[in-house]
């Protein structure tokens, strides 16, 4: 619980508090891992949280905003505003190293490159680590993923697209 009794709200503590809020569709990733949580500021009694959408039409953003509000309200903050910021545009480059590792452990291949150049051939099967893979569909279960299959262990897997 963040100490609200003190007059000054510590934004670092707020970042820690919101560190527990996860992506509703990939619950192993926090919003910080994903790079969606851009800023937290305090104006008087109001907490202003700035988020950026991953994909323009991603329905998860509404849930994320609601979860942020709930987390802060439960910690005792009454006035919470969640703002959307479009620029700079979100990129998978912002995904943390620990986030990438969590994705792999969860069975989703993390973005293969750190820049948004041409598709790398370094995508590896998250199950067996083999890089003999085949694309099944450029789009997977959500806007941010594509569907692949490992040619070695034959398991299909989601790949988190690099954008």
């Amino acid at each position: 619980m963040v100490a609200i009794a003190s007059n000054k709200v510590d934004t670092k503590a707020l970042f820690e508090l919101l560190g527990s809020v996860c992506d509703p569709e990939i619950p192993v990733l926090t919003l910080q891992d994903l790079g969606v949580l851009r800023d937290i500021s305090v104006a008087g009694d109001e907490i202003i949280v700035t988020v950026t959408p991953t994909y323009a039409g991603c329905p998860a953003l509404e849930v994320m905003s609601a979860d942020i509000r709930t987390a802060l309200t439960e910690a005792g903050f009454q006035q919470v505003t969640v703002k959307q910021q479009l620029s700079p545009a979100w990129t998978t480059d912002w995904m943390s190293a620990s986030g990438r590792e969590k994705l792999r452990a969860y069975g989703i291949a993390p973005p293969a490159t750190t820049t948004c150049g041409p598709q790398s051939d370094r995508i590896e099967c998250p199950q067996c680590g083999c890089d003999e893979i085949k694309v099944i569909s450029e789009f997977g279960s959500t806007a941010c993923k594509a569907l692949y299959r490992c040619q070695d262990c034959l398991e299909p897997f989601d790949y988190f697209k690099c954008i």
């Binding site: 994909y55 323009a56 039409g57 991603c58 329905p59 479009l86 620029s87 545009a89 789009f139 569907l147």
Partner: protein, 254 residues
Amino acid sequence: MDAELKPALIEYCIALGDDSVILGHRLSEWCRNGPFLEEDLALTNVSLDFIGRARMLYSHAAELEGAGRSEDDIAYLRDCREYRNLLIHELPNGDFAFTMARQFMIDVYDMAFFTELMQSQEPTLAAIAAKAVKESRYHLRRSEDWIKRLGDGTEVSHERVQAAFNQLWGYVNEMFSVSEQEQLLIDAGVAVDRSALQQNWHTAVQAVMLEATLETPDEDWTISGGREGIHTEHLGYLLAEMQFLQRAYPGQKW
């Protein structure tokens, strides 16, 4: 930016939003009708990107307007003649070859258009463009792949995709003709001069068609009117479906 240009800017955002929402709706019609499950997912994912893009553009228009209209009001409470989308977006899906040929033509166009729009003097438009261009790059990768597979595929797929390009060709000129009002925004560094994109569009599209063993259509008819609100008969049916809930139950919310 000059305050006199504000009404033109609002119109511009709405017109771009219309392009996106209408194509987004068309693609959503493929939901559960895709040729196979993965393709069903892909078509609806692309649909979602276009609807998201429309939401950003409509919200921005509503904010600029400051008259209490919301993004939903703009989408659901305007009739055909108030819609400003380029006609190619509203054409019925046809078969899968037609949908992909249209998608490819629009993806090439969107890549060029939004890359230019990123330089807009209007910061929100530039920010929306920066998001759109990333998504369109990905869309194009898939649609280009499909054009090659269908064109250089079986006799039937080749025939169908060639027929699709022939039917669509007459809608191309409209994508590159600029209105007077738009010209004012171009002069102010806000809008994109679409006419300047035409040459590169043809080069890019024809290169892929050549590889796909397809011929450039020699259709000599051309049609336009979308940006002035003059549409094909198909838009009314689309809006009837898309707007039904808000028309029947005004103000209804999820």
